[in-house]
């Protein structure tokens, strides 16, 4: 596991040495700020619930931009070769990269905590619900990053990785939204697979084990698949 730390450090540095981190953070702040102010004006409620619901779309678009380079770039430039011939396991590499992208995701959403201060200034927000929302936001980030990492691992092209990642995340969001309020096994299955439903519970201030399990197990499954994909060069 020591190599995971080494990889994590390098990947995180790489983000801040390239414009990616700054661009993504800036774009996110523009949109989340816009949604926050608009929803606050509309609802007159001191809550982050509505504005964060919209941020999910932005995150679906920005997270694949964060993750697109993780494996695709190594595959393209060939740096995967010295990396994988160093005494590190495939899991250490994958997990280090995952943690780095997830860390950047958390850095990206961190400035939104300023809104809490603003809400506290203008009214009396429900801190429990806000904390739950952030737990949900962070868990959802892990899932989003692992999906982006998976897509990045199967291609050499970063643009392709980003586009497929965005489409996959939006689909995951939409199937949950579209199934809301419908009955039947198909809808309930889609609702369960989709991220929206699980996420909504958090914004209501409920940290339900089922939702935590959903995010954590889904993320773990995807990381497991990514390790297999990275390994697959050995038998392809």
């Amino acid at each position: 596991m020591t190599s995971t730390g080494t990889i994590f450090q390098r990947e995180l540095n790489a983000y801040f040495l390239s414009p990616i981190a700054y661009v993504v953070i800036a774009v996110f702040m523009v949109f989340s700020g816009y949604f926050f102010s608009v929803m606050l004006g509309l609802t007159q409620e001191t809550t982050l619930r509505y504005s964060l619901a919209y941020t999910q779309f932005i995150l679906s678009i920005l997270t694949p931009v964060i993750t697109m380079r993780l494996m695709a770039e190594e595959n393209k430039t060939g740096t995967i070769e010295p990396l994988m011939t160093a005494p590190v396991t495939d899991f250490e590499v994958v997990f280090g990269k995952f943690l780095a992208a997830w860390a950047l995701y958390n850095v990206m959403i961190a400035p939104t905590t300023f809104y809490i201060a603003f809400l506290a200034w203008v009214g009396n927000p429900d801190y429990g619900a806000i904390i739950a929302s952030y737990i949900g936001l962070i868990l959802m980030g892990g899932l989003f990053v692992s999906i982006g990492l998976l897509v990045s691992a199967v291609t050499k092209n970063q643009i392709v990785a980003a586009v497929i990642g965005i489409v996959a995340l939006l689909i995951l969001l939409v199937i949950g939204l579209a199934s809301a309020g419908n009955e039947g096994w198909l809808y309930s299955t889609l609702k369960y697979i989709g991220t929206y439903d699980h996420w909504e519970t958090f914004t209501k201030g409920i940290v339900d084990t089922r939702d935590v399990v959903y995010y954590v197990s889904f993320t773990a499954l995807l990381l497991f698949i990514v390790v297999r994909i990275v390994e697959s060069r050995r038998w392809r």
Partner: protein, 314 residues
């Protein structure tokens, strides 16, 4: 140090490497020589545990490349073809990253990195961003990386490709120096490089080993006989007859240019007839103006071997 047995690698229906076996002993510099697409890189990728073989086995520094891959990787320094590096990192930062990955204890890192930087003469660029380096420097940064954990074995894939003649000389010099401490397996398709650096050559073509020996032995093996080229002043006819009568001489070609004659003397394989030739010419009152051994270059060997293969297969 490296032991390869019946190694084969198949991509779909094509064998990139087909049943090759060879050994590299401790302290040797062995050259893997072959045209592009002969299977050099594939062989090296198997030895460095980047990909497994389809069949056969390979043992590096006493560990099996498939079952004990992590142990193998600790013992080798691998320079892939075209030296992929992270362009956004600084040289020193990159070497530190690699040293950590290769599990070099933290107290040794600084001194080891300093040593590698000095050895590879990249001191002046150590704080530069890799993306801005010239090809020659990149190559040497790659070499520094292979050395950073002081591996027993260096595996270098085309270490001088794409460099200018001066840089090639520097890199070769460096490899030669490294040969004193490390066992080296390098691949190339540049023949003088092999002649200069390697104690042994393995020539592979189309995934198979076609020849394996020292560069000089290869030359001897391949020649039908030793050819001597002579320029002699004197009676051509008489000298020709005398030369033909020497025991190990198979054939004498005489080119009469009046007072001066040119001879090509072909001796039997392995026989040294130079002294006999000299005394016979002197006995017949000839004056030797020139006598040289027509040495066959590795280039010719390479061409002959790879072409011969083609004739057999087609």
């Amino acid at each position: 140090m490296i032991k390869v047995e019946h190694l084969a690698k198949r991509y779909a229906d094509v064998y990139a490497v087909n049943d090759i076996s060879f050994e590299v002993h401790q302290g040797e510099i062995v050259g893997l020589l072959g045209p592009n697409g002969a299977g050099k890189t594939t062989t090296m990728r198997i030895l460095t545990c980047y990909m497994p073989a389809t069949s056969g086995s390979a043992n590096v520094a006493g560990y099996d490349v498939f079952r004990e891959s992590i142990n193998v990787r600790k013992q080798i320094g691998y320079l892939p073809e075209n030296v992929p590096l992270y362009p956004e990192m600084r040289v020193r930062e990159y070497l530190l990253f690699r040293a950590k990955l290769k599990k070099l204890p933290s107290r040794e890192r600084k001194s080891k990195i300093d040593e590698c930087i000095e050895k590879c003469s990249i001191t002046e660029v150590q704080n530069q961003i890799i993306g801005t380096l010239s090809k020659g420097y990149r190559q040497r940064v790659g070499l520094a990386d292979t050395l950073v954990h002081d591996p027993k074995i260096l595996i270098l894939d085309e270490p001088t490709i794409g460099l200018d003649p001066n840089q090639i000389r520097q890199v070769r010099q460096l490899i030669k120096e490294l040969g004193a401490k490390h066992t080296i397996l390098l691949s190339t398709h540049i023949l003088p490089e092999v002649e200069m650096l390697c104690e042994r050559v393995i020539i592979i073509n189309k995934g198979k080993i076609v020849a394996m020996d020292t560069p000089t032995n290869l030359a001897i093996q391949l020649r039908a006989g030793n050819n001597l080229v002579l320029e002699v002043r004197g009676n051509g006819e008489k000298i020709k007859n005398a030369l033909t009568n020497i025991k190990s001489v198979k054939k004498v070609v005489w080119q009469d240019k009046g007072e001066i004659s040119n001879f090509t003397v072909e001796a039997e394989k392995g026989a040294d007839v130079r002294e006999d030739v000299f005394s016979n010419i002197v006995k017949n009152n000839g004056i030797i103006r020139e006598m040289k051994q027509a040495s066959i270059t590795l280039e010719e060997i390479f061409h002959q071997i790879t072409m011969r293969e083609q004739e057999v297969t087609t």
